[in-house]
C-alpha cells in the first residue's frame, strides 16, 4: 500500500550492510564489531537441531557458574541463549578461562540455508559504556575458589583492546605455577588458553584438549 509514495527503492540500493548474513557482509563479523548499540559477532558453524560444531574446536558446550554449581548448556539450532551480565561462563575447548561480562550476551544459532554446509552462529552483546567492564577469571576446577582475575575496562578503553587483554590475562595466569595451585584445596589446575587457537603454545594446545 505504500507503493504510491515509493517503497521508493529497495533498501540495498542506498544502504550498505543491510543484511548481516550476506556473504560479503558476514566476514566483517568474524570476531566482534560494534554496530549501533550492539557488539555483534557472527561465526560460521555446523548447526543442527542437536548441536553446534566448531570445525576447529568441536562441539560447542557452554558452562555457567551458579550458586548451585556448574550448569552445562548444549547450544543448538533455533534456541536463543542469554547469559546475563555478571555470570561467569566459559565454553569447553574454546575459552581457557571464565568470562565475566558486565553486559548480557545473547547467542542465536541459525541453521544453514538449503545446500549450504555451515549455518550462522550469531552472538550479540550490548555495547559497554563508562565503567562497564569484563574480566577473564580462573577458578579451581575442584572447589571453584577464584585463583586469578584480569579485568579490562571495555567501556572506557574500547572493544579494540579485548584481544590483547585476553592474551595478557592468560599470559599472567600461566606465568606463575603458583597461580594454578588452589590455596583452598591444593588442586593443581591446567593452563589457561585464548579463544583463538592460533595463539596456543604446544602446552596450551594440550590444555585446550583437557578442558
Amino acid at each position: 500500500m505504500f507503493a504510491t509514495v515509493g517503497i521508493d527503492q529497495p533498501i540495498e540500493k542506498i544502504m550498505d550492510d543491510w543484511d548481516y548474513l550476506d556473504e560479503k557482509v558476514v566476514k566483517k563479523f568474524t570476531t566482534w564489531r560494534e554496530t549501533g548499540q550492539n557488539i555483534i559477532g557472527i561465526r560460521r558453524r555446523t548447526i543442527t537441531l542437536n548441536e553446534i560444531v566448531d570445525p576447529k574446536k568441536g562441539s560447542f558446550n557452554s558452562i555457567t557458574m551458579t550458586p548451585d554449581g556448574l550448569i552445562s548448556k548444549q547450544h543448538k539450532a533455533l534456541k536463543i541463549h542469554i547469559t546475563p551480565g555478571g555470570v561467569p561462563h566459559r565454553v569447553e575447548h574454546s575459552l581457557g578461562f571464565w568470562h565475566i561480562n558486565d553486559m548480557d550476551e545473547l547467542y542465536l544459532p541459525i541453521p544453514p540455508r538449503p545446500g549450504e554446509e555451515m549455518g550462522h552462529f550469531v552472538v550479540l552483546m550490548q555495547t559497554p559504556t563508562g565503567d562497564e567492564a569484563e574480566s577473564y577469571a580462573q577458578y579451581c576446577r575442584q572447589c571453584l575458589t577464584m585463583l586469578h582475575e584480569f579485568t579490562y575496562a571495555t567501556g572506557r578503553l574500547g572493544l579494540n583492546g579485548i584481544w590483547r587483554a585476553e592474551e595478557e590475562a592468560v599470559r599472567s595466569y600461566n606465568a606463575d605455577p603458583k597461580n594454578r595451585l588452589c590455596p583452598e584445596c591444593g588442586h593443581s589446575n591446567p593452563l589457561g588458553y585464548c579463544w583463538n587457537v592460533s595463539k596456543d603454545s604446544p602446552e596450551q594446545a594440550e590444555a585446550r584438549l583437557l578442558w
Partner: protein, 188 residues
C-alpha cells in the same frame, strides 16, 4: 524483598504464545509462520523515503534507534524505539522463523513513538510518545493498541492534505483484534 538469580535464559524460536519476553536486559519476540503466510516485511522511513527490507530466505537486519519502522501484518503503526532493533528472518523447510531483539540498555533518555503517515502523500497523520523505559514493554504494547483504536475512530485517518483514507490500524497481539483491526492487519 529478594531478586531471583537467573544465571541463563533459553528461548526456543517459534515456541511460546507469541508475546514479547524480557530476558535480563534483552527483549525478545519470536514466531514461526507457515511458508504460505504473508511475509512479515520490514518497512523503514528514512529521510522521507519508505524503504523495504527484501524478503530473502535469510535476513539479519538492524533497525537503528530513532528510525520509524512498520512490520507488515505484525503491528499496524510506525514504531520508533530509542534502542536498535535486530530483525531476523530464517526460512526453513517447516516454516519461517521470525525474531526481534531489542536491548534495553543504550541511551537513557528518549521515548518510543507510535505514528501513522498517509500512504499516498507521506504526511504525518498523528503520533504519540510513550515513556517505555519508565512504564515497561507490556505497557507500551497496551498503549499502542489504545492509540490504534483511537486512530481508527478519528478523523485523523483521513489525510487533510490529499484526502486519502488510511487503512485501519491494529495492535501487536492479533488475538485482541476487533473486526476493523483484523481488516487492517490483512491490508498492511
Amino acid at each position: 524483598m529478594t531478586t531471583p538469580y537467573t544465571p541463563a535464559y533459553d528461548i526456543y524460536l517459534g515456541e511460546g504464545d507469541g508475546s514479547w519476553q524480557e530476558a535480563s536486559r534483552y527483549q525478545v519476540w519470536t514466531r514461526k509462520d507457515a511458508l504460505t503466510d504473508p511475509p512479515l516485511s520490514v518497512l523503514e522511513r528514512r529521510e522521507g523515503h519508505v524503504l523495504r527490507v527484501p524478503e530473502q530466505s535469510r535476513v539479519m537486519h538492524r533497525i537503528p534507534g530513532g528510525v520509524p519502522y512498520h512490520i507488515e501484518h505484525l503491528f499496524g503503526f510506525w514504531r520508533t524505539t530509542v534502542a536498535d532493533t535486530i530483525f531476523i528472518r530464517a526460512e526453513m523447510e517447516d516454516g519461517v522463523y521470525y525474531t526481534l531483539i531489542v536491548a534495553t540498555t543504550g541511551p537513557k533518555d528518549g521515548t518510543e513513538t507510535v505514528a501513522w503517515y498517509c500512504p499516498k502523500c507521506n504526511a504525518e497523520l498523528t503520533s504519540d510518545a510513550f515513556a517505555a523505559r519508565r512504564f515497561g514493554l507490556n505497557a507500551f504494547w497496551n498503549h499502542a493498541l489504545e492509540q490504534a483504536r483511537a486512530f481508527n475512530g478519528a478523523a485523523a485517518r483521513t489525510c487533510t492534505g490529499c484526502g486519502h483514507t488510511h487503512p485501519y490500524a491494529y495492535g501487536f497481539d492479533q488475538h485482541l483484534d476487533d473486526e476493523r483491526e483484523r481488516e487492517g492487519r490483512s491490508a498492511w
